[in-house]
């Protein structure tokens, strides 16, 4: 359909003019609509994602991530028959991490707890961001691997800053940039999201890549299945008493 392509190009040429009229609220509203709508996202009470994580050197692990409102997350990481558990019950983080030499439940290190709190938010930081105490500002519009993207500066309630890139056409979240303290150095990390597919009327990224900006190594996560509203007992997120 060549005429459609030309029509698409003509519409694309209008984008800069339209862009100037975009506000943060409009962009976020379009983003939520693109994902399936705020109503459908709000209807998600719990989630279970099963994925394969692949690091350099052909190292692989099976990862099961369970999230439940409010702010609960549990991640099981299995490599070579060994399973570790990393969880946050809304108040405290704990882990059983044979990979770190720990077989009994222990409090989670602070950086990992911060991650648990951040990723335990089912809808993500843009859903009801004002009510959550985050701040969102429009930081510009940039080209990301040849595609235009809105750049949003998200200051989380705890003060951490994330730059979220939303594809200018689809309004889907395609990248997050964050600066993290690694061994005393500030490192710019980036996480990309792609291969969006629908489950229960909501789009979820099935391909996630995590890395350091400017470096070639990537941790790749391929999500095989997404279950919406599975029954997840609260006890799964609470730190077990291993002394019993």
């Amino acid at each position: 359909m060549p005429h459609r392509r030309w029509m698409g190009l003509a519409l694309a040429s209008l984008v800069p003019a339209i862009a100037s009229a975009q506000t943060v609220d409009e962009i976020v509203a379009k983003h939520l609509a693109a994902r399936g709508g705020a109503g459908r996202i709000a209807a998600i009470e719990s989630l279970r994602m099963t994925a394969k994580a692949r690091a350099e050197g052909g190292r692989e692990a099976i990862v099961v991530r369970e999230v439940k409102r409010p702010d609960r997350i549990r991640l099981e990481f299995t490599a070579q028959g060994v399973t570790g558990v990393y969880a946050y019950d809304g108040e405290r983080g704990w882990r059983v991490s044979p990979f770190d030499g720990e077989l009994e439940p222990r409090p989670m290190p602070p950086e990992s707890t911060g991650s648990a709190i951040e990723f335990g938010d089912i809808g993500g930081p843009l859903v009801d961001w004002k009510a959550k105490g985050h701040r969102v500002e429009l930081a510009g519009r940039e080209s990301l691997e040849g595609r235009e993207a809105w750049k949003l500066k998200v200051t989380l309630k705890n003060g951490d800053i994330r730059y979220l890139y939303l594809d200018a056409q689809s309004f889907l979240h395609v990248c997050t940039e964050a600066t993290r303290n690694v061994a005393g150095r500030q490192i710019a990390t980036e996480t990309t999201f792609g291969d969006y597919r629908e489950t229960a009327g909501v789009l979820f990224p099935r391909a996630v890549e995590i890395g350091v900006k400017g470096r070639p190594s990537r941790l790749r996560i391929l999500v095989g299945s997404v279950e919406v509203n599975p029954v997840l007992d609260d006890a799964r997120f609470r730190m077990p008493d291993a002394s019993r």
Partner: protein, 240 residues
């Protein structure tokens, strides 16, 4: 850092006693073959080595065939030249989280066809100018350098080294000042070294999940790690 698990590199053994799922009290799990069981510990062969779990941490053991047994049965039935069979076994082992066995199967595929795309990708190899090579060789071919286990541009390596040189200079100045307060400085230095050593030991290898997806292990599991030797006690702190 206390390490209650003993990871011991071991020769892959088929003379196992049984195949079990060992459930830990805290919710973790170890799947493999129990090769030794005493009153105080359970030793499990997970296919890439053995793990010794203190018996008090074990909630229950469910006996049965583990994925490792299935892998060995399937591998034993395959002809060396069966490319499809080895590739299918590599995929299956990967789906079971048996990284070591998956790599073993894919290496068999490469022995049959060194240019096999699926096996090369599964082994983490990369294609540069039409040639498959290891990720390490690929990174070098693309101009990256390896510095302290991380691949980066030469410019970034230079920047890190410059930062450190400046930090060393600052440290030297601080040490000169500290010499005036010799006794305290000695204690501080010893403490700082111990902390550095501990931090180096805890530094993440590779890219942790918590950077972008959720909480996870600090250390990406590489081949089983030997236990960390106990740190020598700190020298007594001098009184001010």
């Amino acid at each position: 850092m206390q390490r209650s698990v003993l990871f011991v590199l071991a020769v892959f053994s088929c003379a196992a006693a049984s195949a079990d799922e060992v459930y830990l009290k805290g919710g973790g799990r170890v799947s493999g073959r129990v090769v030794q069981r005493t009153a105080t510990s359970v030793e499990i062969d997970v296919g890439a080595g053995t793990i010794a779990v203190p018996a008090k941490q074990v909630e229950r053991i469910v006996e049965g065939r583990c994925s490792l047994d299935v892998y060995n049965d399937r591998a034993g039935a395959l002809e060396p030249k069966d490319r499809e069979g080895w590739a299918a076994l590599g995929r299956w082992a990967s789906d079971q989280g048996l990284s070591t066995q998956s790599r073993e199967a894919y290496h068999r595929v490469l022995a049959i066809d060194p240019a096999d795309a699926e096996a090369n990708q599964a082994l983490g190899n990369v294609q540069v100018n039409g040639q498959w090579m290891t990720e390490e060789a690929g990174n070098r071919a693309r101009g990256y350098v390896q510095f302290e286990g991380q691949w980066m541009t030469p410019a970034e390596q230079q920047a890190i080294q410059s930062e450190r040189a400046a930090a060393d200079s600052d440290r030297a100045r601080a040490e000169a000042e500290a010499r005036a307060r010799q006794a305290e400085a000695r204690a501080e230095e010893a403490e700082a070294r111990a902390k550095e050593a501990e931090e180096a030991q805890q530094a993440p290898e590779g890219i942790p999940l918590w950077w972008g997806w959720g909480p996870g292990p600090v250390l990406w599991p590489t081949p089983p790690r030997p236990p960390v030797p106990p740190r020598p006690p700190h020298p007594p702190r001098a009184s001010p």
